[in-house]
Amino acid sequence: MFYMIKGKGQSSNTVRFLTVRVALSVVLFLFILLAAKMGWIEPNQPVFLKP
C-alpha cells in the first residue's frame, strides 16, 4: 500500500514489493505442504463422521 501511494508512476518499488509478496506466498505454500507431510497439521474432519 505504501509503495502504491509513493510509487507515483515510477512503479519500481511497487513491482519489487509485489515480487517479494509472491515469493513469500510460494514459501508459505511449500511450508503448508511440508507441514502436512510431516503431520504437523491435520485437516479438519467432522466429529460425527470419525470412526
Binding site: G7, K8, R21, V22, F29, P46
Partner: protein, 290 residues
Amino acid sequence: MSETSKDQYYVPHLAKWPIVGTVGMTVTFVGATLAMNSQTSTTPWVMYAGIAIILTMFFGWFSEVIKESEDNLYNKQVDGSFRMGMIWFIFSEVMFFAAFFGALFYARTLSIPWLGGEGTGLATNEVLWNGFEGVWPSNGPGELNGRFEIIDPYHLPLVNTLLLIASSVTITIAHHALRAGNRSQTIFWLIATVILGAVFIFFQAEEYVLAYQEFNLKLSSGIYGSTFFMLTGFHGVHVTLGAIMISIITIRVIKGHFKPESHFGFEAVAWYWHFVDVVWLGLFIFVYIL
C-alpha cells in the same frame, strides 16, 4: 469548461456518469425490493433494468477515463487521486473479508464452545442444547440439514491454490515485462493470468457441485456451511471480477495503451489480483485445512 493544462488538475466539463450511476442504483434497489415483496413474475425486470443501467455507467465512465488518460489530460495530481481511490477501495475489500473471517473465528473460538457448555455456557448447554458438542466442523445444534462431509483440502483446493499462486507469478512477470517495454511478453503473461483465473473459477464451480450433490454440504448446513460458502463464494466473485479486469487491461495493452513509466491502470488491477490471491491463502489455511 474542460481544463487541459497539465499544470492544473483535470476536471471534465460534463460529468454525467455519477447521475446515471445514482439512477441505476435506485432502480436496482427499488426493483429488488419489489421482487422480494411481490408475487408477480414481472417485477425482477425492474431490477435487471437497474443492473443494466449500472453496467452502462461502468462501461461509459471507464471508457471516458481511458480516453482522457490516452489523450494525456492527467497530471501527477490526478495520478495521486487514482492511487488514493484504489487504496481505499482495496481497504474496503480487506474489511469486507475481515468481517466474514471474523464471523468464522468468532463462531469457532467463542460461540460454539459456549453452546457446548464452556465458560459461562454450562446452563445454556444443559438446558437449551443438551448433548451439543462444541466441535468444529459443526452442523449446529439439532443437526441442521443433517450430516455432511467436508472438502478434502489436498485435492481441488490444493490445485486451486497452485493455480492462483501461479497466476500471481504470471501477472508479476507481465508487470516486469511492461516496465521493460516488452509489449508482446506483457500480453502473453496477462493472457496466461486470465486463463489460470478462469480454470480456478471452473474448479471452484466443480467443488460446489461436489459439495451439494455428493457431500450434502450446503449454504444451509449450519454455521460451517454458512461461513464456508459465504467466504469461498464471495472470493470466487472477486476472482471473476479480477479476471474480467485483467482481460480489459490485456485488450488495452494490445491496443498500445500504457507506458513503461506510467501505467497505473495496470498497476491497480495487479494490486487487486494480489489481494485476491492473499485472501485465498487465508481461505485455504483457515477454511479448508485448519
